[in-house]
Symmetry: C2
Subunit: 132 residues, 2 copies
């Protein structure tokens, strides 16, 4: 089955660029606000559509933290996250589970594990210190 041909549009490349450059993990609404500065006529629906498409293509990642709406992450390599419940900051952790851990669960279940999401929650260093 041939995949639908995909056109390259200003809107799509701006959405990708915003997420790729973002140090935070922006929501669709935040991407939209930034995008409007570069392309004032871009519509919210277009931002949503392109975020989904780009995620499907693996060029960005969707991340869902507890108590939050869907966010987007420009870091595509495997990694984990830490979320501070006090200030809300999200930090990328450039680590991943040992392959053996994943393989062990996979064989226990008899399933195929394609990916996983690991998020740590707590209080970041900055908030910890300012509370002391």
């Amino acid at each position: 089955m041939p995949s639908t041909p995909r056109r390259s549009t200003k809107q799509r490349s701006i959405v990708l660029e915003i997420v790729a450059r973002a140090k935070t993990h922006p929501t669709a609404e935040e991407v939209f606000t930034i995008a409007r500065k570069k392309l004032p006529e871009i519509s919210l629906a277009t931002v949503y559509r392109n975020l989904h498409l780009l995620a499907e293509e693996g060029k960005i990642r969707e991340v869902q933290f507890e108590g939050s709406t869907l966010r987007y992450d420009g870091m595509t390599m495997e990694h984990e996250h830490f979320c501070c419940r006090s200030c809300g900051v999200v930090e990328d952790l450039p680590v991943s589970l040992p392959a053996a851990t994943v393989a062990s669960i996979q064989s226990q279940l008899g399933a195929i594990i394609e990916r996983y999401s690991l998020d740590y929650y707590g209080v970041c260093q900055r908030c910890k210190e300012s509370a002391a």
Copy 2:
């Protein structure tokens, strides 16, 4: 700071019972539907309110899988999840990360890690076999 006194109501105990007994990880809407069978006048807002309260008290857990709405889990001990992208089933995995893994990330960050959420995604045994 004294916590608000909490009354015990039929509604609250039914919501807790439903989540605790559920083998699936029901959404608020699903809990509501089941609750109506036992208490036909219970309202959806009451279900939502009590799910939050019970989660806050640690009697149930909120879980959020990708592409899904918020769900509730009656298993309160530490555990992980596997979600099948084909049939949607969610399996509880009675395992947890080694304390050393968590401690290492905690010290790398200088943060306090209070909890984490680890969800595996893939294809369950049943779906894998029926596809073969």
